[in-house]
């Protein structure tokens, strides 16, 4: 018995009256949807991923791309996706891979949280005329300060501050490794964060030498595979992040397919060309919080206690106590990655079903750290599906110090969230190592686009704060009083510690 083929997801067509036969669609589509046969351009819709490169590049707007919804009998339970996955696995007997973030249609809590604004009794603040302070320091803070009086009667600070990262805006770019994404993509973001006075992560791919000029704005990552990690790498970073988990795939490791491991990637990661780079789920030297403490301390020792060390975990059910444990270690910040976080490649079942929303994770971690009296001593960085300045403002009001963006930065570089990053064919030159595709992304222009995005969000955040009568980011942090829940159930409101709209 044969399974037959599944109907294509997209239907691509060319308006032949408009088409001038320039062939750009053929050139641009790395998935091979278009090909020329004689004087005709043929289309193979089945290969289309919806990356929209052809549509964007067609000089005549001749291409139409539609999703094809009703090739199956519609069914609320046995959706097209469910059935196709079954068919795929019936064929292959393998794990289904996917790219980018959670693609399930779940309610977004951010969209059910509403921000506040002033009316009459307290003035809103106009950020164009009044100072608006978004400067954020990430790192350990003392719980209290001690002063001493000098002989001349002056007051002097006795407490010594731990090294902190200074961010001009509470937006950073999260870790996306060289290998998973192209060097041009990394360069674009590195230039942007350097110009803006913020930071980005290297991911677990090491630090390519072309990024050295931006190293003061890069956070180097130590993941379970330890790819690219040596003392030179650690010393170059502005901070070090230990990656325990990732929102898109909590509880499992990373996998960079061998075809993405070219000469450059191999040198940067310190692995052979063409070999799969597999980082295991656990760090093989961390089986308890004590082990984590040891790693943190050794990294600090290695870098002479000059660099903050972050620990990144995926948002899972038990995230609050785990974060509390991390807060009590010597870590300077805990990075929490929610279940909407993107990825270069993940088993679909993980991406779509494991973990919890970042909104509740921030709220419960902030709460737990306060209960334990250590909230002030560690920074919380939230990531995983932050789509706008509103999501950013809400994250901070729930208790985050800053956020990491990933997918949003890639979208600013052209990504159309087609979800095919793991195939090394990204037509936008982002999630690929093929030189002809990588060259499509100009790092100079990419940097402008990314910095424009962050600048735009930063301005919007200032306006949102000004409207709420707040002129410094410290006063938005954990200010749940400035949030109201709309269409959220009582249990959720309780966890978020937010009042319902109208209250």
């Amino acid at each position: 018995m044969t399974l037959g083929s599944v109907p294509p997801k997209f239907k691509v067509s060319i308006d032949r009256d408009q088409c001038m036969d320039c062939g750009r669609c053929i050139e641009n589509c790395s998935y091979g949807v278009y090909r020329r046969e004689g004087d005709k351009i043929l289309i193979e819709s089945r290969k289309c991923t919806g990356c929209l490169r052809c549509v964007a590049m067609c000089p005549r707007d001749a291409i139409t791309l539609t999703e094809k919804p009703i090739d199956y009998r519609s069914h609320p339970l046995w959706t097209r996706e469910v059935r196709e996955d079954i068919i795929k696995q019936a064929r292959s007997g393998k794990i289904i891979l996917s790219g980018m973030g959670n693609a399930r249609d779940l309610p977004v809590i951010y969209d059910r949280l509403l921000l506040d604004a002033c009316q009459v009794t307290n003035p809103s603040i106009d950020p164009l005329r009044e100072p608006m302070e978004l400067r954020t320091y990430i790192g350990k803070k003392p719980s209290k300060l001690n002063f001493r009086k000098t002989e001349s009667g002056d007051v002097e600070l006795e407490t010594k501050l731990a090294p902190n990262l200074k961010l001009n805006t509470p937006i950073m770019i999260g870790h996306m490794s060289f290998g998973a994404i192209s060097l041009n993509a990394q360069l674009s973001m590195a230039k942007a964060v350097t110009e803006l006075g913020t930071y980005m992560g290297t991911g677990e791919g090491g630090l390519h030498r072309d990024l050295y000029p931006y190293q003061d704005h890069m956070i180097v990552q130590v993941a379970s595979g330890r790819f690219g990690v040596n003392i030179d790498y650690l010393e170059r970073g502005a901070a070090i992040e230990i990656k325990i988990g990732q929102g898109a795939k909590p509880g499992i490791g990373g996998h960079l397919p061998g075809e993405k491991v070219n000469e450059e990637v191999s040198r940067t990661r310190m692995i052979p060309v063409g070999s799969d780079a597999i980082s295991p789920a656990p760090h093989h030297d961390i089986y308890s919080i004590e082990d984590l403490v040891q790693l943190i301390r050794s990294l600090k020792e290695a870098t002479e206690w000059k660099k903050p060390v972050f620990v990144k975990i995926a948002a899972v059910h038990n995230v609050a106590p785990i974060a509390a444990g991390i807060a009590r270690s010597s870590a300077d910040a805990v990075v929490i990655d929610g279940f909407r976080g993107g990825t270069g490649a993940a088993p679909k079942v993980f991406r779509d079903n494991v973990g919890i929303p970042i909104e509740v994770a921030i709220a419960s971690v902030d709460q737990k750290l306060r209960e334990q009296g250590v909230r002030n001593e560690i920074s919380i960085i939230a990531s995983g599906g932050i789509r706008s300045s509103a999501d950013l403002a809400k994250s901070i009001a729930l208790g985050a110090d800053a956020v990491n963006i990933g997918t949003a930065a890639l979208v600013a570089l052209g990504c159309r969230v087609c979800g095919n990053c793991y195939r090394n064919l990204c037509p936008w030159g982002i999630a690929t190592q093929r030189p002809e595709l990588v060259s499509r992304l100009d790092p100079e222009r990419g940097a402008v686009q990314v910095s424009n995005l962050i600048r735009g969000w930063t301005m919007e955040l200032s306006e949102l704060m000004g409207a709420a009568g707040i002129n410094s980011i410290e006063s938005l942090r954990g200010n749940r009083d400035r949030l109201r829940g709309y269409m959220l159930d009582e249990g959720m409101l309780k966890i978020l510690d937010v009042l319902p709209a109208g209250a």
């Binding site: 307290n122 001690n146 009568g469 410290e474 006063s475």
Partner: protein, 350 residues
Amino acid sequence: MCGIIGFIDRTKSRMDGSSIKAALSLMNERGSGDGAGYAAYGIYPEYADYYALHVFFDNLGESKKKVDELLEQWGKIVHQEEIPTTPQPGIKKVHIPWRYFFKPSEDLMAGKMASENDVVTYIVMEVNSNVKGATIFSSGKNMGVFKASGWPEDVANFYRIQDYKGYIWLGHNRYPTNSPGWWGGAHPFNLLNWSVVHNGEITSYGTNQRYVEGYGYKCSLFTDTEVVAYLFDLLGRQHGLSYEMIVKALAPPFWDDIDRMPAKEAELNKAVRLTYGSALMNGPFAIVVGTEDGIVGFTDRIKLRPLVVGENGNRLYISSEEAAIRVLDPEVKNVYTPRAGEPIIGRFIE
């Protein structure tokens, strides 16, 4: 709106309550008749070593019994009585104001409850959040808060404010906008010897509240001003910061200004912001705080509420309006408006 006034005589020579009543009433346009109150320091010299606990009781039955029990469990009540009041047509008496003079028992103060102040703080939090029908609205030594819903002169007459003599006086005329006009919501807000009068709205309330609650304070009075008293207690009493440093934490200089400071000063200011960022208060405010050894006045960082200072010899006045100060002291000199965030501190002369 709201009108605030603060007065200190640095030599501890005492002033009766009649002039503060007159000064506060002058600012009636700043109020709505929904709340007024006074704090006076130095009024109970005969009980100066005891905590004067002022309590609003809904009734003298169950709720009072619970408070009595709690106090007896933690120490000794040396005297208690109903606070004398005179009925006023403008005031609907909804609570029975009561006062205890209380001494915490030292034998019980081990471990977590290290000092008398900790015990009293615990009792205040416990009663205000868990005892129905009772609110402790004043808990300092040799001082007391008197407040109710009504106009300043009615509240003063109700409590016979003119009969008390104090060397620090605070007054508040309320125009409630963000919380109910109930007696407990009137100012001053007090904890131990900290009393706060405030004109404005603290937009950082949610952050400040979560911050102090992390240290065991419970905000139960439904208003943003309460948290200011707890912030002073936390930073002043528990962390031992000077008044100047507390104001630096609550209304710090802008980063741009800090960046321009000499290195050492910049480092200190940066440390304050990093450590006490959650205590930073935002929104429009002008505040006067009564303390154990003086008064502290300051405004928000961009000065969205008025504050005027006046001096005359050993006396220092801080108010929303110069006219109110002139009612207190027609001879007042050196009247000026402080800069945003600048602390105005009046201390006793040793």
